[in-house]
């Protein structure tokens, strides 16, 4: 009984909330968009596992490239269908923050790998035996 009397008030509260918030909040997904995202994610997850576990390509480099490329595609799929990213949400500031973060992530990853690879390349070569006898 109590839930019956409460239900309409909830409904109206949610309606006013909706009317207010639609302008500046992130877009909400629909059942269809969630399912599209889910099916795409399953496919984009299954392919790299199949490539590595089945040893489909002879070339390791080709497999590695495909795994990373499919990972990037899946991240974009998640951003669009699960996190509801679009250029309009929050007046474009979420996308702006994301782009800024991606630039920082790119600098961090590429910079670290580049610098550390050069350091490694310029070190004196060592055999595993020498490594074991190190202090």
């Amino acid at each position: 009984m109590t839930s019956n009397t409460q239900a309409p008030s909830h409904e109206s509260a949610s309606n006013t909330h909706h009317g207010h918030s639609h302008g500046h909040e992130a877009a909400h997904g629909s059942f269809k968009s969630y399912m599209i995202g889910f099916v795409l994610s399953v496919i984009l997850t299954a392919i790299p596992f199949w490539l590595v576990m089945g040893g489909v390509f002879d070339s390791k480099l080709a497999t590695a490239f495909m795994v990373m490329a499919l990972g990037v595609v899946q991240i974009v799929v998640h951003m669009i269908y699960f996190l509801h990213m679009n250029p309009r949400s929050e007046g474009g500031w979420t996308l702006m923050a994301l782009i800024f973060t991606l630039v920082l992530v790119g600098i961090t990853l590429a910079g670290s790998l580049w610098v550390m690879h050069h350091l490694n390349a310029n070190m004196m070569p060592m055999t595993p035996e020498m490594m074991k006898n190190m202090p």
Binding site: S21, G37, V52, I75, F82
Partner: protein, 210 residues
């Protein structure tokens, strides 16, 4: 002079109206603020990924990823996290409809998938440590445990947050405050799945490739 006085008095009598709209605005910026938090969290993971990228081939004459990683287990783990993502999506759709019981049901399912994911990850960690491939074995394993462990810690706190919100929704219903909290957790949960894409691609699959 007197007119401005009257005007301020007028606005104070209208105060409840203004207060309500004031209360509503932070809700929009909460999402943006939480997004900024997620972006800073993204930087933490980027640094850990970079560390793993640098140290991931330093085995110190110890076991390599191909010896250690059990890809079928990782695949099941990935499936669990992906399923928990879609069930959280269903919970959000039920929340939009204002259906409290269904929202709680899907949140519960999400929590169970999250717990299975954590259980499998802890099993994997225990198995590795038992085999003598603990975080102290080599630089590769140190960076592996730090990266995957940090992700697991995030999932743990996500589950604690999820249970807290289930209690809140059960007690107070789908009030605007709880809707806002559920939307924040939604972003957090999907973000963790995004990070996991990086983990299974870069750490597990690329690691096994060698």
């Amino acid at each position: 002079m007197s007119q401005t006085h009257v005007e301020t008095r007028g606005s104070t009598t209208d105060a409840p109206q203004f207060y309500l709209t004031e209360e509503h605005h932070p809700e929009g910026s909460t999402m943006l603020g939480f997004w900024l938090y997620l972006m800073s969290d993204c930087l933490i993971f980027a640094v850990l990924f970079a560390t793993h990228g640098v140290l991931g081939r330093s085995y110190a004459a110890g076991p390599s990823p191909a010896d250690l990683f059990d890809l079928p287990l990782v695949a099941i783990n990935t499936a669990m996290l992906l399923l928990s993502s879609i069930t959280y999506g269903f919970a959000m759709l039920q929340m939009e409809r204002g259906a409290k019981a269904e929202t709680l049901f899907w949140l519960g399912i999400t929590g169970i998938f999250g717990l299975i994911f954590l259980g499998l990850e802890l099993y994997e960690f225990a198995h590795l440590i038992h085999e003598g491939a603990g975080p102290t074995r080599s630089a590769f394993l140190s960076s592996f445990f730090t990266l995957v462990g940090t992700h697991g810690l995030h999932v743990t706190f996500g589950i604690i947050w999820l249970v807290t919100l289930m209690v809140q929704v059960g007690k107070f219903g789908l009030i605007p405050e709880n809707r806002r909290r559920l939307m924040c957790l939604s972003m957090f949960w999907h973000f963790l799945d995004v990070v996991w894409i990086g983990v299974f691609s870069f750490v597990y699959l690329m690691g096994v490739l060698g």
